[in-house]
């Protein structure tokens, strides 16, 4: 499939013959390979990944606390969910101006935007993870003498883990997508900034190469979380021995 795409690209580029729109395939691949070793690209990629990590970390923190309490207590759900659900409706890019006002240019607004796009999938999936726990697991633990703390530690947290991890996958994905957008506007460092730079310098082949890179990095992160999923919730799989 990928091969077919490459062949298509190769001939389409020859036929259109305007490297500004669709650069030559082999030239782009050359650029692509060069970019993986170019310090400036790697440095900016690192900066961006760091931002994603920080933003997702805060989102996971808040998301876990809110998600667990909203999933377990009906009162908390009634109180918090209207707020969460209305804030969630604000398009992520609409936060850009405000986040610049709040944090200035640079690190602040990008991390904030990642946080905003990552926190909601985490909350929602953790809530559904907790509420999918059969009441009788909790009853079973109680009948063996478990108190509230033990029930959280031994039943709620592991029981909600699959939902939480699904949320984490979506969150990192959303974070990775929004960080690039945020970097277009609010900063002069990072992967998104490189993209804008390539566009302004009319380096279309570089633009293509960076886009392919971003897709691969996203895919890699996703695989990493799936690995984590297998590791932490191996009990869900019949032959998934830990």
């Amino acid at each position: 499939m990928l091969l077919l795409l490459a062949v298509l690209w190769y001939f389409a580029a020859k036929w259109i013959d305007r490297p500004m729109i669709l650069p030559d395939f082999s030239e782009t691949m050359g650029e692509f390979l060069r970019d993986w070793t170019e310090p400036r690209v790697l440095l900016n990629l690192g900066i961006t990944l760091c931002r994603v990590l920080t933003g997702t970390f805060y989102a996971a923190l808040i998301g876990t606390v809110l998600g667990l309490s909203m999933g377990y207590s009906e009162t908390a759900l009634q109180l918090i969910s209207p707020i969460v659900n209305s804030i969630r409706q604000v398009p992520i890019m609409a936060w850009v101006p405000l986040s610049i006002v709040w944090f200035g240019l640079g690190e602040g607004p990008t991390v904030f935007l990642i946080f905003m796009s990552a926190v909601f999938p985490l909350i929602l999936n953790t809530v559904s993870g907790v509420s999918s726990i059969d009441r009788n697991y909790i009853n079973a633990a109680k009948s063996m003498g478990a108190g509230t703390a033990a029930i959280y530690r031994d039943i709620i947290v592991p029981g909600a883990m699959p939902g939480f991890l699904t949320g984490l996958r979506l969150a990192v994905g959303a974070g990775w997508m929004s960080v690039i957008c945020a970097e277009f506007i609010a900063t002069n460092k990072g992967f998104g900034y490189l993209l804008i730079e390539a566009q302004q310098r009319l380096q279309t082949s570089k633009l293509y190469s960076l886009m392919i890179m971003s897709a691969l990095v996203g895919l890699f992160i996703d695989q990493l979380i799936r690995l984590l999923e297998r590791k932490l919730t191996g009990w869900r799989f019949r032959n998934g021995k830990t």
């Binding site: 009853n139 079973a140 009948s143 063996m144 003498g145 108190g147 039943i155 592991p158 799989f237």
Partner: protein, 257 residues
Amino acid sequence: MGRLELSHITKVFSEGKRERKVLRDLSFTVDEGEFVSLLGPSGCGKSTLLSMIGGFQAPSAGEIFLDGKKLEGPSMERGYVFQNYMLFPWMSVQKNISYGMKFTGMSEEEKKKRLEELLEMSHLKEHRDKYPIQLSGGMQQRAAVARALAGRPGILLMDEPLGAVDFQLRELMQNELERILQEARISVVMVTHDVPESVFLSDRVIVMSTEGEILEEVPVSLSRSRNRESAEFEAICHHLSSLLRKAFLAKRKEKEA
């Protein structure tokens, strides 16, 4: 240890404005070491009754005593085997079985010894590190019983413990259950809708009507282990079946009238 007394238990569920009485003024006792079955058609409130003995729901009226002490909320004096077992899927068999021991005052050595005892009793030694999903239905059932017995409760409550098991396997597992419980010497209340099962396992069968009342208490004094083909066994089964049928027909007549 393990004498249970229910006095004038009533349970009312409110569905919007309407009220539905599921249990009406039920009283009975379970003696130390006695095995009592609650037998009745589905919807007679027998599972609700058991869950109240477990402490997961409160009765609308009436009181429950264990060894003279009034019950409020769940505690480890009552082991509970749930329908579908409810083994914690994220814990291995041995962690499941030893879970309740965490909350007792047992020393580490005692816990280890008890765990080995329970694994031996439930024939799960080779499967101790497996997760519940990797076990057969029979193994899950034995693990659930072992888990409920771990903290040495005075009484064991079982909600249709063999309800999820294939018909062919049932009798085999009834034998297993009998062996385990004879070893444990413990009072048992079991909810079931299977007549031969109740006769095979119980010292006494309490038959409930669809209205949530006790129709009759039928003692089963056959010696163990019981022969399912014997005339006495079949006579008791027959008697219980006809009781259930009558209860069912009465209900239908009432509806038609």
